[in-house]
């Protein structure tokens, strides 16, 4: 079943066309990969889906409901949560409090503090941050903060997570752990993911389907194997 349907999204910044007529759909429970060179428009696409950027054209629907034009918090409460490529932790409060707010306000929108705390701890455990629960979020290393981004998105109770380069800055060993973590999450919680990653191994290993963008234009969509064999993609992406 299609959970997310993106139709003809375009976005320009002044004269720059960051996205041109991008369409695709994502199946429930799938991991949908997004690749493209730097500046291809991946983060912009996430921001459009999550409601932070109003597209110049096109529409996005989630579970057959149009969400274009809705505010980010509304979209989140409908069940889509994104992480930020350039991390934005709530730096001055504890790691645990970061995820508790998420659980209180996100899609699960719990009104019970105890419940939210439980959901939060579960999210921290899922990404391996449980040990740092009492640290201030600002004191985490960059990769720690990336994990926190995931945990916060998870704790909202969203059905669909948009993860923007959460593996950047991890050692290969850590990347492997992260791959395991995401697969486990998908299985255990039946989540749908969209993934932006430059760590190709991870993207290929995790994705069911991948969309490749070049200067905001979709140039290929298909299984990892198809994408890996696509000459256009090879040219613009791997050189």
């Amino acid at each position: 079943m299609t959970i997310l349907d993106v139709q003809g999204i375009s976005k320009s910044f002044g004269g720059l066309k960051a996205l041109t007529n991008v369409s695709f759909s994502v199946e429930e429970g799938a991991i949908f990969g997004l690749m493209g060179a730097n500046g291809a428009g991946k983060t912009t696409l996430f921001a459009v889906i999550a409601g932070q950027i109003k597209p110049s054209g096109g529409s996005v629907s989630f579970r057959n409901r149009t969400i274009t034009g809705k505010r980010p918090d509304q979209i989140c409460r409908l069940g889509i949560s994104r992480t930020f490529q350039i991390v934005r932790p709530f730096a001055g409060i504890s790691v645990l409090d970061n995820v508790i707010v998420s659980a209180l306000y996100g899609a699960a929108a719990s009104n019970s503090h105890a419940e939210a705390r439980e959901a939060g701890i579960a999210a921290l455990e899922a990404v391996g941050l449980a040990g740092s629960a009492d640290k201030l979020a600002g004191e985490l290393t960059l990769s720690g903060q990336k994990r926190l981004e995931i945990a916060r998105a998870l704790a909202t109770g969203a059905e669909m997570l948009l993860l923007d380069e959460v593996m950047a800055g991890l050692t290969p060993t850590e990347v492997e752990e992260m791959i395991a973590t995401l697969s486990e999450l998908r299985r255990a919680r039946n989540l749908t993911f969209m993934l932006v990653e430059h760590v190709m191994g991870a993207l290929m290993a995790l994705s069911d389907r991948i969309l490749a963008l070049d200067h905001g234009v979709p140039i290929a969509i298909g299984t990892p194997a198809e994408i890996a064999a696509n000459p256009d993609v090879l040219k613009v992406y791997f050189g």
């Binding site: 910044f13 690749m35 493209g36 060179a37 730097n38 500046g39 291809a40 983060t43 490529q85 350039i86 004191e139 290393t141 960059l142 990769s143 720690g144 380069e165 950047a168 800055g169 991890l170 050692t171 290969p172 060993t173 850590e174 990347v175 492997e176 430059h198 190709m200 613009v236 992406y237 791997f238 050189g239």
Partner: protein, 241 residues
């Protein structure tokens, strides 16, 4: 000119940290002139902290840093830049509200870097054409990877003698990663000295003449890059698969 056998930079017995928290303990490192030296370690090992201490952004609590035969442990950051120690920081730290070109020009603000800025700017644009396309765009509105290129470009504008590259490929597409590593090769060929911290440990160690494995703020292992790659422990812990 220091002789080839003499290191360009040595860090000895360095410890440092944030507030009350000690991060680096008794670090010893030496960087030979014209070499690429890699720092490898898990997240939170202290690589960034070490880079900052070398750049002078964090004070050394004890130990010493020598550069080109002189003790620079107490020298402030801007003078270190003036002597050619240039940090390309993790997280980029570009001047978000200034244009790409202004960022690059600011890179060349020290006296040693002030001659023929125009030419070097053009050279930089050749190296990173995207920067040229966007020379008037505000740095903060560039994509993550574009900002990373800008940070590297800005660092090179300072005419460094040693470049401290902290995770220079973070968030870069493979094509750009390749390009950064070829830049590293070029720089090395041009006689620059490079200290590199990189999560892509394999690539880093492959490119490096010498590598240091950092764990919990201490140097755990060191040796020529290739040798480190072949050590089973290193493979298991840092290289994956």
């Amino acid at each position: 000119m220091s002789s080839a056998s003499e290191p360009l930079m040595t860090v000895s017995g360095l410890s440092s940290g944030y507030g009350p928290v000690t991060i680096l303990r008794d670090i010893d490192i030496s960087v030979a002139p014209g070499s690429v030296t890699a720092l490898v370690g898990a997240n939170g090992a202290g690589k960034t902290t070490l880079m900052k201490a070398i750049a002078g952004l964090l004070p050394a609590w004890s130990g010493a840093i020598r550069f080109d035969g002189k003790d620079i442990t107490r020298v402030p950051t801007h003078e270190r830049v003036g002597q050619g120690i240039v940090l390309v920081p993790e997280g980029r730290m570009v001047f978000t509200l200034l244009s790409v070109e202004q960022n690059l020009r600011l890179g060349a603000i020290t006296p040693r870097a002030r001659d023929n800025i125009g030419d070097r700017l053009e050279a930089m644009f050749k190296r990173f054409p995207r920067l040229q396309e966007r020379r008037r765009q505000l740095a903060g509105s560039m994509s993550g990877g574009e900002q990373q290129m800008l940070a590297i470009g800005r660092g090179l504008m300072a005419k460094p003698r040693i470049v401290l590259l902290d995770e220079p490929t973070l968030g870069l597409a493979p094509i750009m990663v390749k390009q950064v590593f070829s830049v590293i090769e070029e720089l090395k060929a041009d006689g620059y000295t490079i200290l590199l911290s990189e999560q892509n440990s394999r690539l880093a160690l492959e490119a490096a003449d010498h590598g240091y494995i950092i764990e919990n703020g201490r140097v755990q292992l060191s040796g020529p890059g290739r040798e480190l790659i072949d050590m089973p422990d290193v493979r298991r812990l840092y290289l994956g698969r």
